[in-house]
């Protein structure tokens, strides 16, 4: 979650259901390889669920935020806000 790309991916998934890899690629502007590596880490951590489907006969990999991912995101944002408050105090 400390990576900016991973955080961006989770924020993109926050208000959506399943999101295609290509859409995340467009949203984050990361390279395919870099985004793939970050998504693999999020899937491994159980923060994001991955599914392979066929859309118009073409294979598509899509992702969805899990409950664990949502909780981790909320906790991470709280931690960052606490860090900033501590700095300004």
């Amino acid at each position: 979650m400390l990576s900016k790309i991973r955080l961006g991916v989770i924020a993109e998934l926050l208000n959506a259901e399943w999101v295609a890899f290509s859409d995340l690629h467009q949203a984050t502007q990361a390279t395919h390889g870099n985004l793939g590596a970050h998504l693999a880490k999020l899937v491994e951590a159980g923060y994001v669920a991955e599914e392979k489907v066929f859309v118009n006969r073409r294979p598509q990999t899509r992702y969805r935020l899990t409950k664990a991912g949502r909780s981790a995101f909320v906790q991470h944002v709280r931690d960052m806000q606490r860090l900033l408050k501590g700095e300004s105090a």
């Binding site: 400390l2 900016k4 955080l7 961006g8 924020a11 208000n15 944002v77």
Partner: protein
Amino acid sequence: MDSLTASQARDHIEMVDRILSRSERSLHVGGEFFLAWGLFSTAVTLTAQLVVDRRIPANSLWVLPVLLAAAIAFSAIRGRQLGKCKDGLSLIQREFFAVLWISLGVAMFTDMVAYRIFTTWASSAIWTVAAAVVLFFIASHGNRRALACGIILLGSLAAANLLPAFTGYALAAGMLFGYAGFGLISLIARD
């Protein structure tokens, strides 16, 4: 959190804010569609009621296919423009448009193929139900204006049922204030 500096944390929070506000803002894009279809539905129902009340001649109904064609043409042109938009559609926007087109498409299909089942006012009421589904979907993303307008639509449905002499007026008012009104408010709020 130990490996994140305050500067990085600030940068990350700003990015999250940007993404979330873009998601929120995206639901306002459809304002013009709500306005166009809300006005079209109001015109259809109001014209029908005025014909029933013999306040205007029955041949005034010729204007309805023209209005329908205008609403479809506007939606197609504007939808195409949005599709070509430089930033493309955001994720939530895509989901929202899917719900919008499916609800209105099902309502139109039902009206066209089941015209013996859904006669006269039932035909108009289907559009009210479809419009309410769209607004409550938007409300589920935290939009209170959509919730209020959805309630107006359901209220008009109940009023139409309880006031048989004013059924068309009640349904037309619901579409005008609930649906077209939501479109207008969304367009104003976007700016």
